[in-house]
Amino acid sequence: MLTEGQVVVHESLGDEEQRLRRLVLKGPIARTAHAGQFVAIQVQDSSIASFDPLLRRPISIAGISSERDEITLLYRIQGRGTEILARAKCGERLSVMGPLGKGFSLPEKGELWLVAGGIGIFPLYPLAQSALAQGLTVRLFWGGENKSFLESAGLSSWKDLGIPLQLSTLDGSLGQTGLVTEQAQELLEKSTASGGQIRAAACGPKKMMQAVTELFKNYKVSVEVSLEERMGCAVGACLGCVCTLIDEAGVLIHRKVCQDGPVFRGEEVVWDESC
């Protein structure tokens, strides 16, 4: 769907030095969106067309309110595109394509473990909401730079969900010091008995997605990971964003992150950069 989303909220998220923004858009996308999907948003002054930058920017859907026809996007100002996006004012209309891709799936029952690295947390929130609504047991492992980041990126909303949170920071300013996978491993050790009951969903840097996949595999927990790739069309037409999977027959195949993903079963992803 190609729509004009109207900006209803656009604000800084937490500590300004984290350069995070919260953008709420009104429009019909909310009606069909679900967790793990994303939009491709035009990051240019809305009334004077510009080629600088040329392409839309993919941003995950971080909040869905179908009653109010609103989706929330949370993003970090990373370069020119997001910097220009950050200027959009309330009332402005932004061209958005979405919802795009295939999101996370939910198990019927049991436990859902969420694993997030940095801003990979954003698409997991609506997933946690859906899972809880469905009566699943949810817990979160979340690693970030430091306390300021975790707090800025929505820690309090997560606390509001009332689920167990296992936090880690690189500098130890909040939660444990170190990597999020270490915490997950500890708990997996304890919970192996119930391994069949656990499903995991992860979003974060590629290296981390690989580590998470390998870790959970050892404990026979199946994990869905959300991947990132540079995008051209965002609808599966340009083959710019492929990732390599290995199919049941052991054959390497390509899938499009934009259309077939961004969420894939961790076990089928080939992490080798050279494919």
């Binding site: 340009c238 964003c241 492929v242």
Partner: protein
Amino acid sequence: MSPVNLSTQLAGITLRNPILTCSGTYGFGEEYVAYCPLEALGGITLKGITPLPRLGNPVPRLAETPAGLLNAVGLENPGLEEFLKSYLPKVRKLPTAAIANISGFSLEDYVLLARALQKDSGLAALEVNISCPNVKHGGMHFGTDPQSAQEVIAAVKAETDLPVIAKLSPNVTDIVGMAHAVQLGGADALSLINTLLGMHIDINHQRPVLANTFGGLSGPAIRPVAVRMVWQVFQAVDLPIIGMGGITTWQDAVEFMLAGATAVSIGTGNFVNPLAPLEILQGIQDYCEKRGLASVHDLVGLAHRA
């Protein structure tokens, strides 16, 4: 005002209107269905296919540059057999003309592809990509040497009853010489232009951004080069031209037609705005109406008048 006649004759086929989409930017036609009404288009050009399936290049395959896009997809495609089996049946049902795009690494590759694609396939035409700059030891050769280009086109022409469109590379000293060559080879029309060979380096990692090092530059940045080549070829060669390279607005499309393009094709522009083809069609129509032109074809080459 009487409506403008949009119908476009090209290489013996009749298109509803002169708006096409570019190979490699529009998948096999299904991907944009939810974004742009295909039945409104003159036609679409399918992703380039090769005899055997190809995984293409590793990622990153894309990099943005000022007003441009570098791509190094490396001709990923399902291969001829899978194309015929899984894609062609769907392509036949598309509500617009479909042009296949074929690529190869040898004369035999092209012959094989051409033989398999005939009028009864439901395709409207064959676009022969002799210009893909991404594949090592391959396409580039046919696309930059007039003699080989002529041979490839002649071989394709001998194998298929579909109209043959030769797609030329801009990475040549003499585009007119290439156009002459493919005309001698029997091409029914020309597609101008494919991408310019470029690259981008990530100064933080001190490495090329694209895994393939080089990529093809498309988008508005290359438009002046594309328009120039259309202009030069229109003056020298008597074949209809499909103009492409950086078209994002109807003004761009009109520019190509005034330079000599019989039809125009939108590539990277779709990524920017999936409704671009539709808006461009409307814009061209309005432009013709305002100027009292009965047919969109009256625009073709108009800027060459003294």
